[in-house]
Subunit: 177 residues, 2 copies
Amino acid sequence: MKERKGASDEPIRMPITIEEGIDFSIIELMFFAYRDFTSDPDEILADYGFGRAHHRVVHFVNRLPGLTVAELLEVLQITKQSLARVLKQLIDTGHIVQVQGLRDRRQRELYPTAKGRNFLLMLARPQSRRIHAALEGESAAGRLSIERFLKGMVNPELRAQIDHLPGNMSGKDDGKQ
Amino acid sequence: MKERKGASDEPIRMPITIEEGIDFSIIELMFFAYRDFTSDPDEILADYGFGRAHHRVVHFVNRLPGLTVAELLEVLQITKQSLARVLKQLIDTGHIVQVQGLRDRRQRELYPTAKGRNFLLMLARPQSRRIHAALEGESAAGRLSIERFLKGMVNPELRAQIDHLPGNMSGKDDGKQ
DNA sequence: GAATTTATGTCAGCAGTGTTGACATAAATT
DNA sequence: AATTTATGTCAACACTGCTGACATAAATTC
């Protein structure tokens, strides 16, 4: 009763690599890339007493001005309560304003103020610098591959949503020549 | 006193697009891609009472068996206490074992058990499927562009760390022909 | 050999962001 | 008039990050 212990709690000393054809490299690259990608705005946000959730709200309100609360929940895929906290803070601090809907007066259309627009630019600038650096030297074809990949990682049902965001050169997912 | 209100809390109705050359498209693609990329394992983890942090620990212990607690903290860039909670649970549930270091008996080398290895495979399988789908139809050059991009998003100081992970075809970051 | 440093573990408390369920109001729809 | 819809709010909880403090054992230094 030394080797045979019944339970298989023996340490495995071999690294896992391409077991079953799994892309561990890309899995961890996604982790590292996203972590560092969000680290720049996170630092700025912390100075303002905000978090990553505030960035997302400011981002989409600037991208889709006039969207309603329900639409924002749909894009972010979070619950009403999760949004309520951060949205309230952004309204109280004058980054976002609510405008009663014209057709439907129950709706609250969300718009950025000048302050909210500038805030998003401050947050997005370091991310954009990082992206430019990562794309430096890439050919047009390479850039297309990268965008196609990122879009391919998104759940198919939601890709249409992405195509409807402004300035997206959309519909280019089916680059099957 | 209608247009001039002093405070600039007027709603801005224009979407932000390529303002100052900022890549809002890629910024939001990163958000959507990462969110959906993590959603598959998150669901599985929830069934086991675990969270995303457990996945990360199981991942790197399988990738770098025998790494010490300090090394794991270095890779994950979190604090001891953040790790302690999840690591304890993974040890208690028999996914990971600690082995006292040979050279330095203060060190705890971390190894996956068979259970821990199988658990990682279960978590990684749907992610790998998603990655394969997103890479489908990509040329070898396109795949290189994608990996180069993800690596380029990581803070330069940490890229060396990535190269030392197993099965990485590393050092290929400087593809300057 | 004694003092210090290092690797790890643990306790207590806090913050940010996600969750659920319940309930309230006003406006639109039936 | 009754119901549904869009929004807001309250309470409570989970996960994962953080800080600061303190304890132990082993290695290192003086």
